[in-house]
Structure formats: C-alpha cells, structure tokens
Amino acid sequence: MAVGVLALQGSFNEHIAALRRLGVKGVEIRKPEQLQSVRALIIPGGESTTMAKLAEYHNLFPALREFVKMGKPVWGTCAGLIFLANKASGQKTGGQELIGGLNCTVHRNFFGSQIQSFEAELSVPEIVTKEGGSPTFRGVFIRAPGILEVGPEVQVLAEVPVPYRKPAKSDPADGNLEENAGSEKKVIVAVKQGNLLATAFHPELTADTRWHSYFLKMVDELSQEASSSTLEDDPTLPEPPKYELPIFQQ
C-alpha cells in the first residue's frame, strides 16, 4: 500500500516528489474514503486555516482522527504539525479545527511574517543515528510554527535558537529581560510521539530525503509487526514524469 499525502492545499506535490525519489508511491488524498487505501499519511505544509476549512467542507476530520487513533503513522510538516497538535495558539478569530493526537502546544507563525522566514542548519542526532549523513539538516522555516510545550511521552528531535527579534506576536509577559540574560532560548521544531512525527520546517523543500526515509522506516517497522501487509511499494507501472519545481541548493 502506498503512502497518502493530504492534497487539499500546500506543498503536497513536493512531498510526492520526495517520496518518488525514494521509490515510493505517494497518493493524493482529498476525500475521506481515500484514506482506507493507504497505510500512512503525510500532512504537508500550506496554510493551516485553508486546509482546515477544506477538510471541514468535505468532512475529513472524523476520518483523519480515526486514522491517527488506529496508530497508523502520520507525519505533519508545518501546517501538518499544527493539525496534529492537541493545542494551538495564535489562531485566527474563531479558532480552527485540529486533528490532535500529538501531546504538545504549538504557536502559529511563531517566528513572524514572511520577512522573518529563514533557513537554519539543525542538529538532528536521532536522524543521523538512523539515516547517517551530515550531522546537520538544512531546515527551511516558512512562517513556521514553534512547539511551546510537549508532554512526557513526546521525544524531541530538533530545536532551533529563538531569533533575537522575538516572535512577532508572542505574549508580552516574557519580555526582553530574559533575552538579555544571555542563555540562548531554544524552541522545539521536530518531535515524535509513537507513530506520529511532526516538523515545523519543510524537509520536502530540500534535496535531503533523510526525514522522508526516516518516516518510511517508521511505516515499515509497523507493517512488519502487523506482519500482514508484506508487499513493498512500486510494483505499479512507472508514472509519467511529473513536472516539479526546482529544489534550491546552497
């Protein structure tokens, strides 16, 4: 069975292209019934409010919650992380629906508007242990969320220092004093809890496929335990080449 990619809006094509580079077929998911044909799901980056609205119009939330409850592997990037979180702050007026399941609190647009978007080399020990390669990963943060709190069962995979400018609209309570105190504050940007994986940055926008193969290993481990679904991917015909955007390397 293939890996599903929620294709309501956002960078789903990029995820499918990354999966294709690893020889795995990605299937676009737009309707609840399509979830039954996949063994894992990636929720891509995009505008989380837009994706939530579209999911609501087509009644996807119950099916997605069921999918998470069944313990199938789900990976959320950026907007997907917000979807998976149990609690989100910095939402639009009236709030937005979440899938939940990941025991953490995220803050939307933690780093501010587009002008504060950035790239950073992240230290990712867990990924390096499993996947090898360079000790850091180029994280692309686009109006990214930050993880403020995590529950005890959540494993932290990566953190990034909070930029000196501070998140544009955080609570005024934690003001300048702390920053000047010197100790660099960090915010969590990648976590894992059971079969849920979440990143605030966009591995699908880089040529480095280690996060994707890390996620696929989570999927494989699970299907081996279940022992039923033995079939590996790509027995299907090679797809016609799909034209994708370039990936920029520094």
Binding site: G10, G112, I142, P241, F248
Partner: protein, 310 residues
C-alpha cells in the same frame, strides 16, 4: 540532475544574493506553501475575514478592487499603509499588497510594514514604463505578472519568486487569462521538444536569459510557482486555470463584486482543490447568486492593463 529536480541557486553567483537572511529558496518557499490555493483581493478588514473564513490561502490588501479602478479611472497607486496594517491585523493568513511597476520606494514601504509578499502589478498605474523593480535588493518576495514565457523569465531574472499570468484584471472575462496561460504552457511544450542547439536562438526570440530558458526546458515548467490571475469570476473559471496547469489562482473583483461573496469565495476555494472532479465542481457551482458584471474585451475602448509592461 534533470530527473531529481535539484538545481543550484540561479546564476551560480552571477547575480549575488544581497541579503543572506532571505535567500531565494525561502522566497520561493512561501509561494510553494500557497500552491493549490486561492488568493483574494480585499479592501477592508471585514472582507479579509470573510476570505480567511472561506479558506483563502492569502489575501491581497487593496484600496480599490480592479473593477473599481477601471470604472473610476485616474492614477492607481499603492494602498494606504494604515489600511494594509489593519487588514494584516485582522487575519492570520499571509497578506500581499500591490506596488506600482518600477516604483521601488513603494516596495520599500511595503517591506517596512512587514507584509508577506509584494505584487508588482500592472493593475496600478506604472511608475516606470521601461524598468521593473530590481527585486534582488529586497528581503521580501515579489510576485509579477506575465503574458508569455519570455516575460515570465525576465521577471524571474529580476528576482520575482512567483509568477502570475496577467489576464485582464477587473473585467470578469477569462479570455485573456486563458490566452496568457496557454501561451506560457505552449511555449514550454515547444521548448521541451526542442534540440538543445536551438535553445540559444529561442532564448533570443522570446527575449529571455538563456540559463533560465534552459532550466525551464529541463524542468518542464516555470522554475517558480505559477498562479493564474485576471478575470476569474466563477468556480469553473478557477478550475479551468488549474486544469491548464497553474499552481493556484488569484481572484480579484470576482468575489466581492458578486451577489454572495462568502458563498462564492468558498466555492472557488473548493473548486481549486477539486479542480479535476466535475461532480464536486457541479456541486459547488450551484446557487451562487449573481456573478460580477463582465466586460466584453472586443470593445476597443476597454483599456488593456496587460499591455502596460513588457
């Protein structure tokens, strides 16, 4: 390399990045997050909220929608920054704003108030009829209009991180948007089948930088996100643009000049996601009330905004 889609940043340093904080990949990144979405023109914070509630992936903050600019005439300029700030405060989705073509100070002002994207737009009266803004000098990303492949690649070389086809804004008439999208896509198809030796002359013919033409040939598409704009008024129009191969849609006057904006906005958002599913399209197109009044472009007196820049 061609297969994996991995490329180095344009020009190998031929055009140096002026600021390391916001490399081109980050500028393109936001546009990539907008893919499969709808960007709506709004003139008040209330409209912005309606758009966000309907599922727009970004809003374009304006003083007047293109249909009103057309009707009222005169010189159209950048909107009052106060209005743009108010709209920005009203919503959590990205906010774009328009600057006049070549007016780099308007762009500096927009960058200073911290919006997410600048549209260097032919809908506003151009400030410079020969030069566009040198968009490499900015940390904020730009979207620019185009009518054909050459124009698109010239804008990308100037630093645009996103392209939209021009269409004919404020007319509610999709014909020009179709013409421009077909022109871009058609040229790319021709280019794909072209012998490498012929690309030099082709680049000269379409007046575009050779390296970008070659990159487009290898990728089989524009190297940045490509939206459609100018004349989209119905869910069917939006889905047509998507089926022609665009990454998303701008809707200008089409939403808030119609009978039931909230409903129409929502329908267009759904149409873009489910663009290849006629059943969903039929479903969302039902009972939307009156569409915006259209303008027949055979009329010689209608000013062509698309021809304002090359």
């Amino acid at each position: 390399m061609a297969g994996s889609g991995v490329v180095t940043v344009y020009g190998n340093g031929a055009i140096t990045e002026t600021s390391k904080q916001s490399p081109f990949s980050v500028k393109v990144g936001l546009a990539q997050m907008l893919r499969g979405g709808v960007i709506m023109d709004v003139v008040t914070p209330e409209q912005a909220r309606v758009a966000e509630e309907a599922g727009a992936c970004a809003v374009m903050a304006l003083e007047r929608v293109p249909a009103d600019i057309r009707a009222q005439g005169g010189v159209a300029r950048m909107s009052d920054p106060q209005l743009i700030k108010e709209i920005k405060q009203a919503v959590t989705i990205p906010v774009m704003a328009k600057a006049r073509i070549g007016h780099f100070v308007e762009a500096q002002i927009l960058e200073a108030i911290g919006i997410d994207y600048v549209d260097e737009s032919e809908v506003l009266t151009p400030a410079d009829d020969e030069n566009h803004i040198n968009k490499h000098n900015f940390r904020i990303p730009f979207v620019c209009g185009c009518r054909n492949l050459g124009e698109a690649l010239r804008r990308i070389r100037e630093g645009a991180a996103m392209i939209r086809t021009k269409g004919e804004a404020g007319t509610g008439n999709i014909i020009e948007a179709v013409r421009h999208v077909r022109s871009v896509m058609g040229d790319i198809r021709v280019l794909r089948n072209m012998d490498d030796d012929e690309v030099f002359t082709f680049a000269k013919k379409i007046q575009a930088p050779y390296d970008l033409v070659m990159q487009t040939k290898q990728l089989g598409r524009l190297p940045v996100v490509h939206f459609a704009a100018g004349g989209v008024a119905t869910p069917a129009d939006a889905a047509l643009m998507m089926q022609l191969g665009c990454d998303g849609v701008f809707v200008g006057s089409g939403v808030f000049k119609s009978g039931d904006p909230a409903r129409r906005a929502r329908a267009i958002v759904q149409a873009v996601t489910h663009y290849s599913d006629p059943e969903v399209l039929a479903d969302v197109s039902c009972g939307l009330g009156e569409a915006m009044v259209g303008i027949n472009l055979n009329d010689e007196k209608v000013e062509r905004y698309a021809n304002r820049s090359e």
